[in-house]
Symmetry: C2
Subunit: 268 residues, 2 copies
Amino acid sequence: MTILMAIGGAINPKKPTVLEEFARRAGGDSARVVILPQASAMEDTGKYYVDTFHRLGVADAFALEFRQRGEAGMPGQVDALRQATGIFIAGGNQMRLSVLYGGTRLEAELLSAYRRGCLVGGTSAGAAILSKTMICNGKGGPIPREGSVQFCPGLGFTDKFTFDQHFRQRDRLGRLVYAVATHPGILGVGIDEDTAAIVEDEQLITVCGSGAVTLIDGRDISATDVSEIGNKGPVAVSNLKIHILTHDCVYDGTTRETRIPQKTLLVE
Amino acid sequence: MTILMAIGGAINPKKPTVLEEFARRAGGDSARVVILPQASAMEDTGKYYVDTFHRLGVADAFALEFRQRGEAGMPGQVDALRQATGIFIAGGNQMRLSVLYGGTRLEAELLSAYRRGCLVGGTSAGAAILSKTMICNGKGGPIPREGSVQFCPGLGFTDKFTFDQHFRQRDRLGRLVYAVATHPGILGVGIDEDTAAIVEDEQLITVCGSGAVTLIDGRDISATDVSEIGNKGPVAVSNLKIHILTHDCVYDGTTRETRIPQKTLLVE
């Protein structure tokens, strides 16, 4: 089974439910977690996550610290990735990741770890980079507009989803609709802060955390003028299907159906 | 063997060397060529290519004429694609193709035809769409600048190459360097007008036509500031490897070496 965990950024440090879930799924106290801090501009990001995962009971947490393409894929890194049960990609600027890893042995080892079933997760930029064609920049706002989203080639763990983060906090519905309209076969996954979309076998999505995951399914789009609009103009799209899913809700990409856990509706 | 033929646009109608090569590789007088005119805004584009391929000796040339997502992947189209020996994608606006085909049965059939060995070619927009992450817009100019290239998700025949067209005619070196810098594992393929890059098994590239194909190999990039530059600023990149290849030259992606046919150098 392949498994991705895309986190929307701004994880609550006092109640890090999504990181607890990451640690649990990586193997709990026998987990070996490799941390990739390169998206971040801060020097201590790797150390911060090593400490955090140790606090969450992970015995072995290790950050790959380097900032040059020439150092990507050194033997020690390869060994760590081959033994990892979880790989965690920190936030920052997603293009730093594709620039540093793209075409290197490190990239090949990451994809290979993913395919053998190692949990691969990331927050914010670390979530965006998981898509083959990733959102690397854009503008918030409710309306899909030409120019509201910039794509770049990501690391390519999946080409079935486009992940967007800080989703409702930064009002990104418009830009994710735009992204989906350009290629309606790719499911848009908008992830709120402190929330994760956990994707198993590129099909089953489970939500974890305090916010929501907004899924934008464009496969039934009947018409859109997205290819014709320039100059930041507003874009029309008809027949989008949208799901807003919270903690423990599940979406099945095979049937395109959702499962929303029933709360007790009747109070005596 | 898989085979792509990415053509840089503006094929010389009086001497259509690249289309002759397409017809030859599709099977010559026993070729069955399916034409996809949807990128074009002109109504007679399908008919134009049907007539052209007939004139080049192809017995069976057939255009799939439709303009609505709901019509993409109808049974007649599927039959035609399953019998095709060549699929030709006309020029225009590449996003029209991803919008119309993305997530439809037609898209799945196109990829399946490609994987079984059917020649897939396209000119201009039809070349751009072949990449998984395609260039859908941008600005010409010699310097790579932030904002000089816009990507969108393409149809995904290959994730190893990014094709750019009208390459030297529209001065696109800067934008293709920018594109490669964002993910140095993807080879930039800049194709001049009236010229084709023929890609076998995602490895061997043969050039055909009156112009050149410029290959931009970023795997050895030692440093770049591409992830840090905003506001249309100029981007620095070091250690790019570039090949400029003309008719009959070959690039081997496995060895990263080129073969340039020797002309007679000595004249008595």
